[in-house]
Symmetry: D2
Subunit: 161 residues, 4 copies
Amino acid sequence: MPAPAARRSPTEQQRLEKALIEIFEHRIRFNETLGLKVISPDPAAPTLRFEMRESLVGHYASGRLHGGVISATLDAMGGFAIMVALAEKHADETLEQVGHRFGRVGTIDLRVDYLRQGLGKHFVASAEVMRLGGRVAATQMRLANDEGTLIATAAAAYMIS
Amino acid sequence: MPAPAARRSPTEQQRLEKALIEIFEHRIRFNETLGLKVISPDPAAPTLRFEMRESLVGHYASGRLHGGVISATLDAMGGFAIMVALAEKHADETLEQVGHRFGRVGTIDLRVDYLRQGLGKHFVASAEVMRLGGRVAATQMRLANDEGTLIATAAAAYMIS
Amino acid sequence: MPAPAARRSPTEQQRLEKALIEIFEHRIRFNETLGLKVISPDPAAPTLRFEMRESLVGHYASGRLHGGVISATLDAMGGFAIMVALAEKHADETLEQVGHRFGRVGTIDLRVDYLRQGLGKHFVASAEVMRLGGRVAATQMRLANDEGTLIATAAAAYMIS
Amino acid sequence: MPAPAARRSPTEQQRLEKALIEIFEHRIRFNETLGLKVISPDPAAPTLRFEMRESLVGHYASGRLHGGVISATLDAMGGFAIMVALAEKHADETLEQVGHRFGRVGTIDLRVDYLRQGLGKHFVASAEVMRLGGRVAATQMRLANDEGTLIATAAAAYMIS
């Protein structure tokens, strides 16, 4: 039996979270286009947020979020949940090793249920990892507005390694 | 039995298509953020196109489309297919009457299957209306790159009136 | 302003639940083929149950539920959740009026996520109504085995009236 | 470069198809419950068929197929399409080796779009494999009645090896 692998030190974990947020908010360019910000990288309850802006609107007269903003945000939310779950599962790995895993995550499919109109000043996305297998993972996601009204739910499957 | 309603004249139809393209490409703000352009408003084979741009990329090092761009484009594609199908079905209605119908279309849900990496210089989306009922409609969508490689497929359901 | 409608009496409500269970378990023939039994018709937490049987197995050597049993059960579960939600929403209506609504419920679409192998002695399905609009409703469903292990989740959309 | 592997002889291919049909129609018990019969095991256009029977009906008064029969059949159809596609892709493998691959196929998720009422004397399911990767596969499925009316479409993702 191998000796249990050493978990990351608090300093290393902090460095990893900082790097992960930098990647997610800026290097993933379209997330920047959407204005996504990480509220919490906690694997138990990862959350994102973005502000309503004119460039995200469906028909200009309605002032509602474009459905595509909702699906894109929930897609990104699921991916972020997978990233933090992988970082926790492989807590004995270095930032570089975990980064390598991130690069190999692939979305298999996504389903979005649009429940209510996308009206609000800002929006909060959250996710739950339903299964984290060796090859495939599944997540469920939610989008609510600034008043806590549920706007949409989603589910996605991912290839992981 | 009422007299059969007069169909739009060629001039009216042209005016309607022009208005529809103006709404779709510009007034639906997020479509402009994505850079979506109407290639064909033909109800039998509606198609859209957009150019690869850095703001649409997933991880900056990969150069691949963000999954959210794919889902957002296919969401918009399905909506556009519904719009042109409604305009054809209600060919006896004025631009204003049809426009009123557009405002009442609501996406119920969307599923996207990501088949291959989003690599290419530009991308072409197409759609087929599978059912156009009195209250609910269903579409299937496809996204291919500039070499014709199928990147993703999708299906969506809509409330219509 | 009309006077508030009278809610069903406890006796009428009991009669309605009994009729609803009779319809669900027996008159909906394929539910009988699956062996579905109503555990609770409570709109807040409707639940079903069925026993493992050889006729429900995928490959005979595996002893696991066929994926189609899982999707069929979750489809039936979502429909049952809509039925009890409609009966509660229209608590001023007679059994006949509510029965008429049941006959007009139509599933628009269904997505099932298969999380773990369908192994167990019996299985319990549950559902939550995410939205009950005037024309469209949405549900989320779960299937667990006799040990409480989550086997599958699902989401569906329905036309209602 | 290795020598190209020998493909199965016509006799071996026939034996494989016969075994595959035996497994699909009988050893997969719930397929027998549904009454599914293989019409064609051709990987280019695999098709199934089943007869309307009272045990497959939704509400007894309607005479329509239960939604769960539709989802279960399309689930089985997608799995069958994967089986014949794997048998063709690995045409250099023995029946035993291919059989081992079948046992490891797992459905990740399924989406069904219900387009029209399930009315008919018999029903025909067909499928197309959209992608057959090394680890994940995707299919699209259709169900039509004896008059060729499209009843439902579906899409599914599978883990393969």
